[in-house]
Amino acid sequence: MKMINDQTISTKEIWKLLENVNDPEVPVLSVIDLGIVRDVKITDDEIEIIITPTYSGCPAMDVISMNIKMILLEHGFKKIKITSILSPAWTTDWMSEHGKEKLKAFGIAPPTTKQQVCHTELFHEEEAIQCPHCNSYNTKLVSQFGSTACKALYVCENCKEPFDYFKCH
């Protein structure tokens, strides 16, 4: 517990508040679900939030920083510092189980564990990705690159629906 701006606040409460900040590109996920908030530090008069990008070129980082600031300002905190770090590099293993469930309900196949994709084997048979619509594993990769840096394009051979897969990283 720390006194800040005449309020008593614990880092736990800040983490809780940040659950309300969503990723602008995958709005069903909060920045906590995504695993991009790495640390929260409270000093005598300042709150520091340490975040890390999903991809080097992630265009959402500026908006995410601003939204974090906004929500803290709304709750009466004035001195807020957002620090972006690159190491250790973000991985989909940091995504919460709750986040993965929300992704699936939203129609995006959640990432499997990371070991299966990060290699340079060519035309490699991937582990089957489950269709978020009909749960079939009879799915096919269309492209490793999708509508945002973090997603790949798949199509379900069973229900014939295309879908996004939040790719392992």
Binding site: S56, G57, A89, L122, S143, Q144, G146, S147
Partner: protein, 254 residues
């Protein structure tokens, strides 16, 4: 020593920015929608990597000189002869085969470079390399598969790939001949001895070319000079377009 670290960081940044910009020229013009998205994603990754390097270079410059720099001044306000990128990455897109081959030759290089930069004693260079390597694995796989598809594809795709090899192979040697700031970077252990990357790179290229029924050209007269600021005419044209807004309307923002 700081100066050489700045030059080395700018060299890494320039390679990523210039190829990222070239790839972005395909956005909206790709052969099919999925591949338009793929090349645009790769452009985004490369420009993101460039931003990380430029931000670091700007910080170092601001610590050691009184000429303030930002990532934007470094990208938009330097002249062609200040850029330290390879001749390879500034070559015009040409057709899809040439774009693919250029990406493959460069991604294979970046793959081994970033692996080695993971041993850097410089915290920031290490962090950027660790982050970027994960992205480059996807670029390398994607471009390798396309080299194979085109090389071992139809008569037309093969003819185009052979032409691309003819146009680009001459720019490959430059990647493995260390220039002064690279030699210092390697000896000070924040950078990579690029001459040591050649064997791994060559093996990778040979494996993919074999699969694509293509062969490595022999007796090619190699071109170099980009690392020291001597570029082909193409960089000037690229910068004219990329820097136009900041040159014409200085400090404009949106």
């Amino acid at each position: 020593m700081k100066n050489q670290l700045i030059n080395y960081t700018l060299h890494l940044a320039d390679n990523s920015l210039i190829l990222g910009h070239r790839n972005s020229e395909w956005t909206g013009h790709g052969p099919i929608l999925e591949q338009d998205i793929a090349i645009s994603n790769i452009a985004l990754d490369l420009i993101g990597q460039a931003r990380n390097f430029y931000q670091y270079a700007a910080k170092l410059i601001n610590e050691s000189t009184d000429q303030p720099a930002t990532e934007d001044t470094l990208a938009y306000l330097r002249d062609a002869n200040d850029f330290k990128n390879f001749l390879l990455v500034e070559q015009p897109n040409g057709d899809w085969a040439k774009t693919i081959l250029r990406q493959f030759l460069f991604s294979a290089y970046q793959f081994y470079l970033y692996q080695q930069l993971n041993n850097s004693n410089d915290e920031t260079l290490f962090a950027i390399a660790e982050k970027s390597l994960k992205e480059v694995v996807y670029h390398l796989r994607w471009s390798s598969e396309w080299v194979i598809r085109l090389g071992d594809g139809t008569e037309e795709s093969r003819t185009r790939m052979l032409k691309a090899i003819d146009d680009l192979w001459m720019f490959t040697e430059e990647m493995f001949e260390p220039f002064s700031y690279e030699k210092i970077a390697a000896s000070e252990k924040y950078g990579v001895d690029v001459s040591l990357l050649k064997n791994g790179w060559m093996k990778k290229v040979r494996d993919v070319f074999d699969e694509a029924t293509l062969s490595i050209p022999k007796n090619v007269l190699m071109q170099k000079g980009g690392k020291e600021g001597n570029h082909t005419e193409h960089l000037e044209h690229l910068l004219n377009e990329m820097q136009f807004l900041q040159r014409t309307y200085p400090n404009s923002e949106w």
